[in-house]
């Protein structure tokens, strides 16, 4: 299990990276190496055989920063998962991301793995894409025509497929801060902790005066991309968050998915687990949302 030979290029600035990517014709042939925690195994097993590897790890100064951005938090594409989970700004302003990060992979993998790499890899069962979809995060695609904003729900277009053009790369992601009095919760089931999830759920709830004003529910591992449970969101929106209303919304979320069966779990299991996890995630998020109680 050794990668096939490739040409190694390590741009020393984002400008140089932009030029290299602008000239490429095939993302599989000229691949960007960020943390490498998914790409390197694929190359070792020769599922991926790029002839040119563009290593962006020298660009941490430009692509590896976390910072405030208006009413949100911008996370550079090259921010390591381990750095994001230790960052007080992430914990304070995007607690859903902080809660999900320890489930992304084992610690030694998170040391190298990046936030942007996981987003670009676009695994439908992955935690960071799930959080991005739940929070309506906005991706920044950089390329020869300048920057382009892509909403999370348009970024994931299929299994392991993102909306970047061949001449673009992801430079960062912006998570908008939640309104005062909101709460969020992340839950997943996986064969072993921090393995690839069988199913993951993220819930974000805002409310005032005992009613739910805004609900965002996203599921991972049940479709080719992370999905929002929009009908379930509408079911709970405007309601008092009593157990019956929560259970009804959870059932709607489970009814609306059409998951596949695979080795770790059957479709029926995923549907059952969806109802249970959505209910628990909603309960937790509501409990954390100071505005509702």
């Amino acid at each position: 299990v050794k990668p096939a030979p490739f040409r190694y290029v390590a741009p020393s600035s984002v400008d140089e990276l932009t030029r290299i990517v602008a000239e490429r014709e095939d993302i599989a042939d000229t691949a960007i190496l960020a943390g490498g925690q998914s790409l390197m195994p694929l190359m070792a097993l020769r599922y991926a055989q790029p002839t040119c590897l563009v290593d962006i790890n020298g660009l941490a100064g430009e692509l590896g920063r976390i910072g405030g951005d208006g009413d949100g938090l911008r996370v550079g594409a090259l921010v390591r998962q381990r750095a994001a989970e230790r960052d007080p700004g992430v914990a304070e302003r995007v607690p859903l991301l902080a809660e999900a990060l320890p489930s992304v992979a084992k610690p030694a993998v998170r040391t190298r793995g990046t936030v942007g790499g996981s987003l670009c890899y676009a695994d439908a069962a992955a935690e960071i894409p799930l959080v991005a979809v739940a929070l309506d995060a906005v991706m920044t695609a950089a390329g020869p025509r300048g920057d382009r904003a892509i909403p999370a729900r348009e970024f994931f277009v299929g299994a392991y497929e993102n909306a970047l053009e061949v001449d673009e790369f992801l430079s960062g992601v912006t998570f908008r801060a939640l309104p005062e009095g909101s709460g969020s919760s992340f839950l997943e089931i996986s064969p072993r902790h921090a393995d690839r999830a069988i199913i993951g759920v993220a819930a974000v709830v805002s409310g005032e005066r005992g009613r739910v004003t805004d609900v965002r529910l996203a599921l991972a591992g049940v479709a080719p991309t992370p999905v929002r449970a929009t009908r379930a969101e509408r079911t709970l929106g405007g309601q008092a968050p009593d157990p019956d209303a929560i259970a009804a919304a959870a059932q709607v979320a489970a009814d609306d998915i059409d998951p596949d069966s695979d080795l770790p779990a059957s479709a029926d299991y995923r549907r059952h687990a969806a109802a249970v996890l959505v209910r628990r995630a909603l309960q937790t998020a509501i409990g954390r949302a100071g505005g509702i109680a």
Binding site: V1, K2, P3, A4, P5, F6, R7, Y8, A10, L33, G36, Q37, M40, P41, M43, A44, L45, L53, D55, N57, R82, P102, A105, K106, P107, A108, V109, T111, R112, R192, H193, A194
Partner: protein, 161 residues
């Protein structure tokens, strides 16, 4: 494809090598620098046997290219022999009978040393399990390894206090 010259610090010593880009950090350590204490199991990031410390953080040496180690500081199992925390971990592993064949042990020792350096001595069994969850052992059943980490954590706590 041409080899790329690199310079890095391994176990406190500056080392130079010429590396073919596709070769991993594990290959560089074992074949070029002859540090064969870093073991290679699955070579695709699952087993954790090749875990080393890069700038103090645990990393899979099979998932990082040798050329990417340019300018970085790498600590292997050989380097832990000179590290007080590393020494204490090795001793505790021995006392707890925390290994049989020993193939996975270097990866456990590096991962555990990083954990103890970062978290300090107060660790729950759950935290210990989380930190070593990326290391597979086919002999021990893991319990004695967790026992060893608990023991060394208690001992380091005594030293700190």
């Amino acid at each position: 494809v041409t080899d790329i010259p690199i310079t890095l610090v391994v176990n406190g010593e500056e080392r130079s090598a010429r590396v073919e880009p596709r070769r991993s950090l594990a290959d560089l350590l074992r074949s070029d620098l002859l540090l064969t204490g870093t073991h290679v199991g699955c070579e695709h990031g699952v087993c954790g046997a090749c875990t080393v410390l890069v700038d103090g953080e645990p990393v899979r040496a099979c998932l990082m290219l040798g050329v990417q180690a340019q300018g970085h500081e790498v600590t292997t199992i050989e380097g832990l022999a000179a590290d007080p925390v590393g020494q204490a971990v090795q001793e505790a592993m021995r006392e707890a009978h925390a290994f049989q064949c020993g193939f996975c042990t270097p990866g456990f020792l590096t991962a555990i040393t990083a954990l103890l350096r970062e978290s300090g001595p107060r660790l729950t069994r759950t935290e210990i399990r989380e930190q070593i969850s990326g290391n597979l052992c086919r002999c021990s059943g893991y319990e004695p390894i967790v026992d060893a980490v608990e023991a060394v954590a208690a001992k380091l706590d005594g030293v700190a206090a």
